[in-house]
Symmetry: C3
Subunit: 434 residues, 3 copies
């Protein structure tokens, strides 16, 4: 059997995870985390009890959903949770009642503008119940009595999340966050956890890893808030750059979500990679935020976290509907996002600041870094090296050096390696300004 490409592997994991009925709590989350632990044996699965305070929030009761359906008087199941878990409003309270067509109407959600799509609706913090369906189906429901059943449980339980800590030479950290709280949807959300898993496996095998990595799989919003409430001081101290991994599965455009400050190391890395290796992409404003960067970049938190996405949440027509299914994502789409994010990590691992060891240009010739005969042509050949030396004043990291001298980042890193080998430069500590 031929080896699968990384894109096909990720797509396979997404296919496995697609049917699970995730929410911000409950068995679907645990089932997902257990699946991921098969791929990432060091993944820790944590649990936080309902009622635990987290900043302004409290961990809600756990939601368990067994079955849900609407049937007509003849017992025909018109809406069936088992066929599509989007049919039930997330966090619906249990119900078993008969309603008229008019009464049922108040419990239904559909999208007139997207009549084939079943919308994704939740109500985590306000007790209610309801059903979602396509607008086309809604229009066909005849008058008559309906039997609505939701076999759910809302009771004190646990909020679960996964945490994977990978140690590097330094305790400074790169942070990856992705979420596992949406039922059967593919670009938002399963692309996130599968790309993050693939990245985590790559990081785990990265030789000479410099940074430590903090990688979390959480329910969106409440999960990041709970996680921050437990780890904020150490995260502030350690994290140099972070990425919120979401909407990384389709084949369309690349997108960039800046941090609130807009110029952190994470922003500089992400825009460098997108500019240099993707080229054309959509650059959003932090005002367009909508995922966990809302927490990571909030005032008093202010972590350097950005997003590199394919089609951004909220901008593509299938978003938060049943149309965001496995046909929307692809091995190539997943692999493209994986490559861009991995490139960011490679840049971060290699990014350093250097200063020359001597005033004036060094004598390159005696180190065989300079050709014997000085002609216009040969002089241009060593221009990369001499430009690097001319700007290595201890204030520019390699990302800034690459821009200053117009040379690709990884080529700069190669020049740095050569010059370090000859003792012509030394690295200088340069902790990113807050």
């Amino acid at each position: 059997m031929p080896q699968q490409s990384i894109g096909e592997q990720m797509y396979g994991w997404a296919t496995d995870l697609f049917p699970y009925c995730r929410s911000i709590t409950g068995p679907g989350v645990r089932q997902t985390l257990q699946y991921l632990r098969e791929l990432l044996p060091a993944l820790e699965i944590h649990e936080v009890p309902s009622g635990t305070a987290a900043f302004d929030w409290v961990v809600p009761d756990e939601w368990t959903i067994g079955d849900a359906f609407v049937e007509d008087a003849q017992g025909n199941r018109l809406l069936d949770f088992r066929k599509n878990n989007l049919h039930v409003v997330g966090y619906s309270e249990p119900v078993d009642c008969w309603l008229s067509r008019e009464e049922l109407e108040k419990r239904l959600f559909s999208l007139p503008d997207q009549p084939d799509a079943v919308p994704y609706i939740t109500s985590y913090y306000s007790r209610t119940w309801g059903f979602c369906l396509s607008h086309n189906q809604r229009k066909t429901l005849p008058a008559g009595d309906y039997h609505a059943v939701i076999d759910s449980k809302l009771a004190p339980g646990m909020l679960n999340y996964g945490q994977l800590l990978i140690e590097g030479k330094e305790d400074r950290e790169i942070f990856l966050s992705t979420y596992i709280c949406h039922p059967s949807m593919a670009n938002n959300e399963l692309s996130g956890p599968v790309v993050t898993t693939a990245l985590a496996r790559w990081i785990g095998q990265l030789p000479g890893r410099r940074y430590s990595y903090r990688i979390i799989f959480i329910p969106e919003t409440i999960g990041s808030i709970v996680y921050l409430s437990k780890h904020l001081p150490e995260m502030k101290r350690r994290i140099e750059a972070g990425f919120n991994v979401t909407c990384v599965g389709d084949d369309r455009r690349y997108s960039y979500m800046p941090s609130r400050q807009g110029d952190t190391l994470a922003d500089r890395v992400a825009t460098y990679v997108l500019d240099a290796y993707v080229g054309d992409y959509d650059r959003y404003s932090f005002l367009d935020r909508g995922s966990d960067e809302r927490q990571y970049c909030s005032p008093l938190v202010d972590l350097p976290v950005v997003g590199i996405m394919r089609s951004k949440y909220g901008t593509y027509p299938e978003y938060h509907t049943s149309l965001d299914d496995l046909s929307l994502i692809s091995p190539a789409g997943l692999a493209g996002a994986y490559d861009a994010l991995r490139k960011c990590l490679q840049v971060l691992e290699a990014n350093s600041t250097y200063v020359v060891t001597n005033p004036c240009e060094p004598q390159l010739g005696k180190r065989r870094l300079y050709p014997t005969f000085s002609t216009l042509e040969t002089r241009q050949k060593v221009r990369g090296i001499t430009n690097f030396l001319a700007y290595a004043d201890g204030t520019l990291d390699l990302l800034q050096m690459a821009k200053a001298i117009g040379v690709d980042f990884f080529e700069c890193a190669q020049i740095a390696k050569t010059l370090l080998g000859h003792g012509l430069i030394v690295g200088v500590g340069r902790r990113e300004a807050e």
Copy 2:
């Protein structure tokens, strides 16, 4: 009798004040201040004796003008101060003599390019005398002998100015300055004192006034210099923003005169109000200055003082001539400037800096600030509130917040009020950098 609009009120005051023969000193100034004290009972009228030193200057002798005329040999009054007080050069010394047509010529001022206008000319610090007239009239003066009479007095006396201090909750001050030293001219100058008077009356009734207000009615140049020489340290300590109120009466364009620094709180407020509520206006350079901003923004003084005007002094054809009369200004013109300046004061009163009380987004739902069902549409509804919270990091005042999140200043102020009420933000001290 129907209530007058504010524009009509101001126009009425200007009409009353128009005939007074003001100069930098003398009875016309006092007469004007007494009139204004009828409207502003708390107005203090100060006097500074001739000979008093003020920085590089000395308060000059007081000028009293009774009558002035030029008559021909037949006793026909060709130029008559009583008909138009612009006919006599301001601060003319007394004279009573006969001159030939040729000798008279050296004492006459007219404008060949504006042959119908009588120019406004003064000579405060160099003793001389003269008459102003229209160029058309000048051309008709026949040869012959002329009797020139100026019944004036130049003698030690007083320089007068008015000061109105209105206390607020804080001793930090907003500063308004206008001048009362020009004879019968309307846009420059009577629009200034009448708009300032209307603003002062509005301020006096402003509920919950936060700032204290320092409002002065002074002779231009020597008056602002004298006032600064007496009050500079406390003004430097207290004044947060100031406005030089001049040329605020005609119906034409709005104009903006920046402070020398160009980015003080006063500049930010004025440009916000003009951008948001006026739209199209003339933005001048400090190099185009010409009124008391020359003193307030001079080196070693450096107060944050700007000007919002209608047609700026020196730019409209009627400026400093008899054509700048009551027909040039209008109730609507005055009211427009009054509205813009009052908006600036409202912005200043409401402008504060806030910081969130918790890391991460607060839970808006439990405070009924967030709708029950999370859909794309409802999420956009609370975007103003969440954007405010996302940027409330204690570094942006509301003016900067309004720009950052693209929401009108007063709507931002309303959001702030709501969030303060819920304890989700607190105000932080943020004294404008010098």
Copy 3:
């Protein structure tokens, strides 16, 4: 005999110096320095022994070249050093051997794209030998045996340079550097030393000279490195602005080479002079550097050194070939560069920072700086003076003042002189930020 223009004088010196066979060491350098000492009697000629360490470098052996030729079997001299000293590769080791046409080929340098030009080639730090010739000549060389002779000596000796220190009132320095290491080429290099010599003579007679001047005539690269290795601390402490003087002889465009920082006093002066008095010129990036700014602006050295050139080295077709001869430069070309550089020195001598002595505008009238009658026209007349006073807050030097108020630098300097005379401003110390 009519007096020569400064351009003709410089051209005459270049004509005298043209035939000398300069290199980075050797008799040609000393001969050149002795010639210059005739023009600049205070010029000190220094020597540094071979083997002396200078940062990463070591002063090489001295090269003495007596003769060099290639002759055919019939004794016809095909290439003759005595006819054109570019024919021998600089720093060629001695040789006297017979070669076949094929063996000779490896020792020849020509330019296929410029078939009439003899290229200029050196090999200072790697022992070899070779000949340069036009490509047209190369193509005519028949098969057969050739006799190659280079009568050179490479042995411990001296590296020479000239230093001229001219004291001013202050020990802060202006720095001029030019090089004397190229054989018979005119724009690069003889224009450099002759323009520098003319500037030095002008500086020597400058009345009331404020700055001290450090002027050096050095071999390029190794000379500047050696000089810096002996003088860096005092240069860092004293030098306010410097100019690397090269390629200042032709009639074509003016060029500007910024310092690495790009905004030093030297940059501000050079761009002001070029903008105000030249207008259209080529503005290069520091990435285009190629002369001794490579050393002066290197990290850990970081001196404020820029270049004002005519056609920049490396950009004109005759560069580093026999075509860069006396026909390429002209008295007018040299004089243009001389004028631009002298203007820079005049700006530097006059550039100061001032602050007013009083808050508020001073009373200009009592100092006869203001006209008696205040009209629109007369007010505009004193605008230069009042604008200067309005911006003289102790933060702007005259270069910045000139830009701020839109008045020519030297007119600003004249205003400053007037205001200083009236005690209305005082100079403030303002050492350029590093």
